[in-house]
Amino acid sequence: MAVEGLPALRRRLMEMGLLPGTPLRLIRRMSLGGVVELEVRRSRVSIGHGEAARLIVAPL
């Protein structure tokens, strides 16, 4: 996976362990809250829909 644009978010996600090549799991998408929950390195994080759309992922 890779993160496009938004340098501050990209850096923060990388620091939380979401580096290019790190496996991630989509836990849920919440249309109401506009939030996507991901699992990375055994921890769960929620990020906005708009931000999540910038993640470049490939199925494992």
Partner: protein, 735 residues
Amino acid sequence: MISSEMPTIVIAGNPNTGKSTVFNQLTGGRARIGNYPGITVERSIGTTQLPGGRLVRVLDSPGTYSLAARSADEQLALEAVAGLPPLPAPQIAVVTVDATQLSRNLYLVLQIIELGVPVIVALNMIDSLEAAGQEVKPEALEKALGVPVVPMVARDGRGLSRLVSAIVEVLEDPSRAKPGWRWRPESAELIELTERVGDALPESWHGNDPDRRSALALWALLSIDPGHDLHGIPDELERAVIDGRAEAAAQGRDLDHEIIHGRYAWIDSKMARVVHQKKHPKELTDRVDRVLLHPAMGFLLFLALMTLVFQALFTGADPIIGLIEGAVSWTGNVVGVALGPGLLTDFLVNGVIEGVGAFVVFLPQILMLFFFIGLMEDTGYMARVAVLMDRLMKSIGLHGRAFVPMLSGYACAVPAIMATRTMERRRDRMLTMMALPLMTCSARLPVYGLLIAAIVPPWQEAGLTQGLLMASMYLFGTLMALIVAWVMSKTVFRGSYIPLVIEMPPYRLPHWPSVVRMMLRRGGDFMKTAGTIILICSMGMWVLLSFPKNPELEARLVEQRAELEQAAAVAPSDDEKAQLEERLAALEAKGASDFTRQSYAGRLGRTIEPLIEPLGFDWKIGVGIVSAFAAREVFVSTMGVVFGVGEDVDEETMDLREKLWSDTWPDGRRVFTPLVCLSLMIFFALACQCMSTLAVVRRESGNWGWPALMFVYMTALAWVFSFVVYQGGLLLGFS
């Protein structure tokens, strides 16, 4: 101050790793809460006595995933851990680590080790490992990192004594907690760049220690961006970083990736021997979230929970508040009787005792609100609230977590402002704080009640219009709060947009001692700091309302009172006696009215009359507005006093309604016309008529600038809206 020889231990760690629990265990909960110098991020300082009698100071630091900073408040984590001036350089950093999320937690550990600060890892939550389907070997971790690792279950105090012995050992021999090897920049280009950035660092930061210099250079490379919000960054350093990053980008290199990936690769290479993934983790959190984050059910459950919280604040606190008020007036009576009439008695009863009462009454709501917030934080539900509310709140520029404080604002702004602490970022906190007092708090209700009742003649019953008017005032306050939040998020709090990353911790059962401790700590903190300011303001209000003394007025009152009392004593029949007592009461009320009219508050009311006349208000309303600064509901009793009905009144009091109805300007026009009542309600909806709110904003923001801004913007808004409503209404032919 604490002596400089006392060693400092800083507690660091990711959010939700039990950092404050470890802090409380070490200090026995005896901590001073203060703010970091010059900034409104709370910090706790405590001391602890080690076996052998040595005292050490324990300093908490903000929870963070990384030392890299995007704002001045995130920068504090580095300053506290590295001990950048003026903060003390710590002898040890105890880093709390969630054992179930080891690799992500170790990223921060690694950064601190790089700085050359001796590190002890508090490997917390080892009791959750099994549920997470993992096995972690503390000894292997100790070997891999080269620093002491203490397995802990901080909530139960398990591992605490081992942590204390580790602290003693490291204080004796710091080299035990300072590995000679760690991750270092590998490529020649990065080494050269850290050298260059290192040269631009202030010497006071690194003290010429080459390792620390290189670590701080890496920090700068990951923190300083063009247009950054950090503080105390020398221009030279900013230039070096920005030039360096631009150069790297031109060569097609990605510095963020090089550094962060480098550290994670180091961590991953060590982890294989430390962590064993056994089986799939239990899915309790998943199952609970399927309900609590369900698009329909989750939202409804959240609303139900919020209704409960709101109901508790709004009505549940009432009996306790009644008890406190009863106790305050009882104490006042006892003191009054014991000391007899006089200036000192008046000061003690109406200045000091009432003043203490004025802030103690907030305590029930503050304790209740923080009990709920503590529960929500401790169980992990607060992160879900932020997620549920994120889109809604973001559309007006607020954080998802601002929902609970904003809602609490309907009960009272004071606990609600304190509740903004659930937000980590200063910008989110200040923005919520500034808009929140516009929510219709319960102190506005008696004022609205009186004014809505005053719209119809006293002989008429309240009807549907009155109910609708009350509802409209609620809606108006809410809309104004949301609009102000939106406008401020685009102006005062513009700043760079930091996208939100919310960690979703697994659900846990609440740890009652921490919930109660936090609740009591907030309550105590409010009493000490905001309480003092409220007490001083109350005394000031007492002076305004009780001076200057008017001997002539008093002598006349004493004379007339004596006459009536004498007549009552010898009255032939009970009927006549009752009549005389009624006249006595009327005399007292008129005396109070005459006195208030000539007091400083009364004079202030007259002085501001030209300012408020365009809004339709006369000087008597002016007196009410001045005295309502003590608390909005005081407006009602002040009106009672000014109109000679006595201070024990509410909107049902017929005498007061009649007085308001028949009150006129010198030229015979009625004062309290429906239009004036509406204009006055708008004024009360928007004006910052509450010294306690300002006191608590002063406490939370750390300086007087914010409360001053709040007072000015709210008063200006109130004036403009009332002006438009009143003058516009006149133009349209209303009265």
